[in-house]
């Protein structure tokens, strides 16, 4: 059976492990982090159980319809938000846009893979201490991650890199390019994305359908449900349990994680013993799970002796700018992020803010354009402005936001979810640096679309966040971070964080590529630890971990 066929199957696993088998590695979540861990660990001969809260989504369920896809793919569980961020104001019940299903948010990601720059690993050293920001340097350098980065790019098949061709230009890209040239920018192209421009690795070539974020109907976009997970399952060492919502991780008297408790698809409480746990539930659910796992030994939540679990929540400085042109653009045609300009991602404090941002052209269908160009707007002026849809080109920016300790994921004091657990609540204030960057980025994009000949320009506030980061930050110092440079908990030696929660700072690039690179490196570390433990075992007849 080929891998794409496998993804069409039901929720039946290919192998089953006993719930009291304490030799398996339990991976919580099947997205970019969890899916990569499953592939890498099984490839090295390790038995894994992946617990995924959502179902397998049949690729035949993908539709070119924004709201139907939203209903199908989105993580809809209750959330709450507060703070001065426009997202907390406009979308308090849905401050994030992530997915629930096998593949996690790789189901809807647009495939953007900008590279991190070396200076971004040293935010504190380069930007200096900023008032109100909890900046730090990463405990790893660009040189540490670079080999894993290249491996991640090759694995995911990023276009325009490592010998893979670029994608062809669409109409909106040509506008982006025209504006970029007229503003004097130099570093732009049709955007390296983990979407096949040519058939590769069992995936098809992109038909330039559009609707990347609604589930790729070409079967060209890299996602763990069509790459890492079927590969892991093919080894016979990966049991993927779907519709299993992990609610708690229990530990033994020595403080080792020993059991992962979850509610299965029938609503029955289950548990799985484990050797290691890798948590990759996205930066809201990951800290929420740790906070919900409090115990006598860890009264503030599992692995939270630092008090940093849930804090320093980051989500990038984002926003959209739209230009109306005299002639048709049809932004709906082709990849949803068909081009990128990297000039503003540089380190240049003269612009009045620390950090950098990337600009891209993007696409919304009429349904999302009407709902999100100006959230909450109504009336004749607004509806008339929607009538020029076919002549509108959309652009966005994504930049580094500041970690703020009070921006955090915490447990709601009273609201409970369908499992009876406190729902996560997000506090999101914008830092002054975020606001300066947004103003600059919006200004540059306005200038760009005007330079390209737009007759009317609109800017919109940020939309629910898909880049959720930092809530279990990485630090060498156990009092200042949750995990070490391998993503291993300082408090619980067999607990790893394998998603964007471990980011020390947000950096400008879209985070998936780095999440995958960190997971590759972490899986390699875990395998080396296990081999070390085996040698230890044969000597002392006692398992170290």
């Amino acid at each position: 059976m080929n891998r794409l066929e496998r993804t069409l199957d039901s929720d039946v696993p290919v192998v089953t492990y006993r719930h009291d088998d304490d030799d398996v590695v339990v991976i919580v979540g099947s997205g970019a982090g969890g899916g990569t861990m499953a592939d890498e660990l099984t490839r090295a001969g390790v038995d894994v159980v992946v617990l995924e809260a959502g179902p397998r989504i049949d690729v035949r369920q993908f539709v070119n319809d924004e709201w139907i896809a939203w209903d199908l793919l989105t993580w809809h569980d209750l959330r709450d938000a507060s703070g001065t961020s426009p997202v907390a104001q406009n979308f308090a019940a849905a401050p994030t846009w992530i997915c629930k299903g096998v593949g996690g948010s790789t189901l809807h990601w647009a495939g953007m893979c900008p590279r991190v720059q070396p200076h971004e690993f040293k935010a504190l050293s380069n930007y200096g201490a900023l008032d109100g920001a909890n900046l730090a340097d990463w405990p790893i350098t660009f040189e540490d991650i670079e080999p894993w980065y290249i491996r991640a790019e090759v694995k995911m098949g990023v276009s325009g890199r490592n010998g893979i061709p670029h994608h062809p230009a669409n109409n909106v890209y040509r506008i982006l390019e025209l504006g970029a040239k007229r503003l004097g920018y130099r570093d732009y192209d049709t955007n390296p994305t983990a979407i096949n421009p040519v058939p590769r690795d069992g995936r098809n070539a992109c038909d330039q359908i559009g609707f990347c974020m609604q589930g790729c109907m070409s079967g060209a976009k890299w996602a763990t449900f069509n790459s890492e997970l079927p590969r892991a399952e093919a080894t016979g060492r990966c049991e993927l349990r779907t519709r299993c919502m992990v609610v708690r991780i229990d530990h033994d008297e020595q403080g080792y994680a020993r059991e992962v408790v979850y509610v299965d698809g029938k609503g029955v409480m289950q548990s799985q013993k484990c050797r290691f746990v890798c948590v990759a539930g996205n930066a809201v659910e990951t800290p929420r799970l740790l906070l919900n796992s409090e115990s006598g030994m860890f009264p503030d939540g599992l692995a939270n002796s630092s008090g940093q679990v849930g804090k320093n929540y980051m989500r990038h400085v984002t926003g959209n700018v739209y230009g109306t042109f005299e002639h048709p653009v049809y932004m709906n045609r082709g990849r949803q992020v068909g081009g990128i300009i990297r000039d503003e991602s540089r380190f240049d404090p003269r612009r009045g803010f620390a950090g950098g941002y990337n600009m891209a052209n993007t696409a919304l269908g009429l349904p999302f354009y009407a709902a999100f160009r100006q959230p909450g707007a109504w009336g004749r002026d607004y509806s008339r402005s929607l009538e020029s849809y076919a002549r509108v080109a959309a652009f966005n920016f994504t930049g580094e936001d500041m970690p703020i300790e009070t921006n955090r994921v915490s447990l709601h004091p009273s609201k409970r979810d369908q499992f009876g657990l406190p729902i996560p609540t997000l506090h999101i204030d914008d830092h002054a640096n975020d606001l300066s960057m947004r103003e600059h980025a919006e200004g540059r994009l306005r200038a760009l679309v005007e330079a390209a000949g737009a007759t009317e320009v609109f800017a919109s506030p940020p939309l629910p966040f898909s880049h959720n980061l930092g809530t279990c930050r990485m630090s060498d110092d156990p009092s200042r971070g949750v995990v070490d440079k391998w993503g291993r908990s300082h408090d619980v030696p067999n607990l790893f964080i394998s998603d964007g929660s471990q980011f020390t700072t947000a950096m400008a690039p879209n985070p998936t590529l780095l999440i995958v690179a960190l997971a590759l490196r972490q899986a390699d570390f875990i395998c080396r630890e296990m081999r070390g433990a085996q040698r230890e075992t044969s000597r002392s007849r006692e398992r170290a971990i």
Binding site: D207, H327, P367, A370, Y389
Partner: protein, 132 residues
């Protein structure tokens, strides 16, 4: 109760049109909003919206649907932020623009997967964009 009485439905259709007016669309496109709410079969919601429509009617001498445009706008501005207003506005913005029947009027091409995408169908056909 899982449906609206005729008068309430007419009031809600008039409200949907005032929220997102497009003179080239006839009332059937706004009626879709009411149909979608009814399809959800949520008696509590139907009751809340019926009550809201009634309050909107009671805010003037003639029924809401019969008032002039500027009066309707003022009456809607007065209730902006209420649960009734938010529900009708959110439902309208979602249902009106996701109805394939209105897409051609906006130049929105909708799904393309079944047509093989745009790789060989106008991906880069805007000849008006200069090459510099």
């Amino acid at each position: 109760m899982t449906g609206f009485d005729e008068h309430t439905a007419r009031t809600l259709i008039a409200m949907a049109r005032r929220l997102y007016p497009h003179d080239f669309l006839d009332d059937s496109h706004y009626a879709v909003v009411v149909e979608r709410i009814e399809a959800a079969r949520d008696a509590e919601r139907i009751a809340l919206l019926t009550e809201g429509a009634k309050a909107l009617d009671n805010a003037g001498d003639v029924p809401f649907a019969e008032r002039p445009e500027d009066r309707k706008v003022a009456d809607l501005e007065a209730i902006e932020g209420t649960g009734f207003f938010n529900d009708v506005r959110q439902t309208t913005v979602r249902e009106l623009y996701s109805n394939p029947a209105v897409w051609p009027s906006f130049g929105y091409e909708g799904p393309s997967g079944h047509l093989g995408g745009y790789l060989h169908r106008g991906l880069n056909d805007a000849t008006w964009i200069p090459d510099e």
